[in-house]
Symmetry: C2
Subunit: 275 residues, 2 copies
């Protein structure tokens, strides 16, 4: 039995890798890619079995880039997993807080730890890296003894580094939701969630009608978001997640009904609801 | 006649300052503050007449932090303005592209120019600064001749710097919407927009009912977004903008109706609709 090959964006130890392990278990074979596009491409061409991609963060909101890629590629969401983001301050063994002159991490992690950094190190230099875990890898490879990275606990373990200060994020309620994508759809067993994107030419009455499609069938929503199409006043994309499968009658009827009133509709996938 | 004092987050030349000038005109007196909290505080204590704050970006989504502050402070939205974000590569006069070893900017600007940076400078170092315009100010003050900043055209003009390369952002469709806040509400003349935040204990039926409040009165929506309350399954905040004033009967009736079915409702303000 060979283990599942799963693409994620970032270096080994990235939060996306932690999400892959949380979803598939320790036997998974996570494979790092430089950017989101490459993850989609790897799944699309069959280099890997699955891809794991962040779609929304509780502080930063929806990651529109991945919604755009979900529209562009013909892949299917087959699962979801949510993990808590906790940035650790990570340095080489033997390095202490007083040694730190530079802090390396991904821009968003630096921003999410801004107050903690300022409190601990009023005069430290912040250095952007392409990846949270990548900053830890670089500190290790270049033997940087006056710097620390901000990354996951998993990154500290993978690179054999020490955690100088745990939980650096300013807001403890920091969660990211990831979706798992595959080339073929899967029919979910148990409680299912379905993610869709649609657009309508005119928001007012038609948004109400589109929600009626779900309300009239007692289908719950877990996400709704409008995204204006720039330069097109009154035109929007809507992201909706609802609790039903497109493979059960209720979900199928709702989607057929929705097609009557939308100018564009794409079903991104039905999948078991995450916990 | 004294000019209006308007608080914004960032250094002189920040996009928020450009938004303030776009809204109030050249006679405005923009006053920089370090963070969003300080802008709210400055308006609240009467140090300034108005504050200008970003609430959503077409690529990065809603800025939840400012929604949180709008809930915490008793200020009122009295206007809105949208500007296009175009990052210029800015350096000291006489510096050329070949001299550049480091690029300085705010994390989000660096991320939004990632592909352009990699194409122009495969081996350049990215250095995070607290502010786009602040990076230009620093390059000027420290006479950094091997570095460039990413910031607005306005920042280049204010600090007397050159634009080495215009429009560095990877996605041309990059817009930020700002709101103008004041201590006292203003009754808008002409077409008005109203921004509200509300929560309901259960999303499914009640979201539909809450939209009925608007649909039944032919009131258009321009934004809807759900934001899950962490740790509280099925509990959400909703952000809605609708085209009507709370001071006209239709808008007042809709809000009264909405109060019947929500567990929490805050009207952030009614204001003239921006162009």
């Amino acid at each position: 039995m060979t283990s599942l090959r799963v693409a994620f964006q970032g270096e080994r130890g990235a939060y996306s890798e932690a999400a892959a392990v949380a979803f598939f278990g320790d036997s998974v074979q996570p494979i790092p890619y430089n950017d989101f596009d490459s993850v989609f491409e790897a799944v699309n061409t069959g280099q890997v079995d699955r891809g794991v991609l962040p779609v929304e963060n509780s502080l930063a909101g929806s990651i529109h880039r991945n919604y755009d890629l979900l529209l562009r590629y013909e892949l299917f969401i087959v699962g979801e997993v949510q993990i808590r983001i906790a940035h650790q301050l990570i340095a080489l063994p033997g390095v202490s807080l007083n040694d730190i002159k530079k802090i390396y991490s991904h821009p968003q992690a630096l921003a999410q730890c801004e107050q903690s950094i300022t409190r601990l190190f009023p005069y430290v230099e912040r250095v952007v890296t392409y990846d949270t875990a990548g900053s830890v890898k670089m500190i290790k490879e270049q033997n940087i003894r006056d710097g620390a990275g901000l990354a996951s606990q998993r990154a500290a373990a993978i690179y054999g580094m020490d955690i100088l200060q745990p939980d650096m994020q300013d807001d403890a309620e920091n969660y990211t939701r990831f979706v798992v994508v595959a080339r073929e759809p899967e029919i979910p067993a148990g409680e299912a969630k379905t993610s869709i994107v649609f657009s309508m030419d005119n928001m007012p009455g038609s948004l109400f009608k589109s929600l009626a499609v779900f309300a009239l069938r007692d289908i719950d929503l877990t996400k709704i978001e409008s995204r204006p199409l720039q330069g097109k006043r009154w035109q929007y994309f809507f992201y909706i997640d609802f609790i039903a499968s497109q493979y059960e009658e209720r979900g199928r009827n709702a989607l057929n009904h929705l097609r009557e009133i939308t100018s564009y509709l794409k079903v991104l996938g039905s999948y078991p609801r995450g916990v």
